[in-house]
Symmetry: C2
Subunit: 332 residues, 2 copies
């Protein structure tokens, strides 16, 4: 039977901080990682919470990621911000760049933040929610290792290429989603294989390039984009925005240049902010709430982000897998 | 047997111009429509070419659309452009707004054009290709009448909500797609019904809300988004950008406020431009071409827009359905 230990959010944050500093992070890098993983635990997004600590540590110990990196932010135009992460994990580069992006967006109506020299290993909703919490629309995307075959082909070229979108709802939690453009994340395919379950047709191809419902066979083959040709077009857009527009590595370059230590490759991220105040003008909140009311009234519809935001209201301790805590504590 | 008549692109343009002027358009409005439909015929996109003329005429005759409207362009900030179409068809508003958007994007790196007071009845690739032809990235989207049930529900709330994306390839034709976020356009469902064919599960629901492969049953029910929950999230983003961010009508408002003449409702459009020169910096063309080479090398992969661009190279006359020409000529 799985055993759980209760930890407060403060204890979770302190544990991550300690482990990161013990593994070569300076205070700023450790704090950014503790913040991002604690927020994931707070929201019930366990797959991006403490579960990730061993992966971050592995990447630090490999020397691939610099836990003392000092990201450099530059405003190339009043609307274009660039952060060179200098090899840090993405959260610190974001912590440095997002305030500048938000300020520029609020001032000029639309702005773009390109992040390079980062190792992205986290969810994307913290970026878009940061903007939405300030009354701005956020769009973010990043590429990764090639794992997804473009529709029609049998060879991996795209990463799982997540895209996140957040719409601000002043006084309420934003509408926010963050989804892989792969039909299913590789982690979920591996879990299905472990549990002896089948996956829907369209999830991926086996090593011979044949459609399969066997997750173990797909794990040896390639994933497919969600939604066939149309989802593949979205996945391509993510590659072009996250790598082509940032001048960082495309997924295929990340694979070619990877040192094979299993840690997250260097990659790029693109974050775009838009200001409804400046673009839509007065009254946009009430207008959009009429749409949200219609959407919420539909039986069977989930508002993206709502479950996470509900979990967030609980400020009490979280039940954490005891074995995971042991594993993490041993990394100090 | 279907008969065809050969028309040069000049003849196609002149025919559309004449018909539009005969139905109350001034020169500017007629020219914008002739341009957009002639380009569709040139590219082999027949569904957005002459085939649309009767629909445009119907909308003009209903009085819903003003064929003499003079769109007004305003620069709200150095990066935010607004065009009030004053009730025109979208192409004229775009002809007025896109040059201002392209100039702003080239100058400041990212810019947004919101279009309101327009009746969008055309493809979206002309907008994004306009930007890509000038070395810029383009993203465009628009909403329409509610025809698509958000994933999990059985009631139409979203329009077919197309999104277009174009990436510039200096010296080559851009990568460009333009796709409905519905699994299938209603027109294609109706054609399948006429031809007695079935459609894939996931295309839509019948009038009782049950999944169906019978296009005639779906035509009486609702369409579904492509790609399940993930495609539904993209369709929602399109509604929010095209209506929420422009302050124009959401799909459900277009239905509520429609006069029922069958013509295209008033709606909004959002077009975003991004400059790789300013964001990615020098060398982005070669970098992206390495990715494009990989994509093209994959067996079974189509580069979006390639077929249209190949058709475009043919400057000769086009074979047009003779009955369609008769129908259109009768509208003069």
């Amino acid at each position: 039977m799985t055993e759980f230990t209760e930890l407060t959010l403060e204890q979770i944050s302190a544990l991550i901080n300690e482990v990161m500093i013990a593994n070569g992070c300076d205070d700023a890098n450790a704090a950014a990682l503790a913040d991002i993983m604690t927020r994931a635990e707070r929201d019930g997004s366990h797959s991006h919470g403490l579960f990730r600590v061993p992966g971050y540590v592995k990447a630090l110990r490999s020397g691939k990621v610099d836990g003392k990196a000092k990201p450099v932010v530059a405003k190339k135009t009043p609307a274009i911000i660039h952060v060179d992460g200098r090899g840090c994990f993405a959260p610190l580069a974001q912590a440095v760049g997002l305030p500048v992006l938000a300020e520029a967006t609020a001032e000029i109506g639309v702005a773009a933040l390109s992040l390079t020299g980062i190792h992205h290993f986290a969810a994307l909703w913290p970026e878009t929610e940061y903007l939405a919490d300030r009354g701005l629309v956020g769009i973010a995307c990043t590429a990764y290792m090639p794992m997804v075959a473009p529709a029609g082909s049998k060879a991996a070229l795209f990463g799982t290429n997540p895209i996140s979108f957040a719409w601000p709802r002043p006084g309420k939690t934003p509408v926010c989603y963050d989804m892989a453009t792969a039909a299913m994340a590789m982690g979920d395919v591996q879990i299905a294989a472990r549990d002896g379950k089948s996956v829907p047709l369209g999830t991926g191809l086996d090593a011979d390039g044949n459609p399969s419902t066997d997750p173990a066979a797909i794990a040896k083959g390639v994933l497919l984009p969600f939604g066939g040709y149309k989802g593949s077009a979205i996945a391509m857009m993510v590659e072009l925005l996250a790598a082509g527009l940032t001048s960082e590595q495309f997924s295929f370059e990340a694979r070619e240049n990877d040192n094979g230590d299993g840690g997250p490759p260097r990659g790029g991220e693109m974050v775009i902010g838009l200001s409804p105040d400046l673009i839509a003008g007065d009254g946009w909140q009430e207008h959009v709430e009429r749409f949200m009311d219609r959407l919420r009234a539909l039986e069977g519809v989930r508002i993206p982000g709502e479950r996470r935001h509900k979990n967030r209201l609980d400020t009490g301790p979280r039940e954490i897998n005891a074995t995971l805590i042991e594993t993490i504590t041993a990394l100090k």
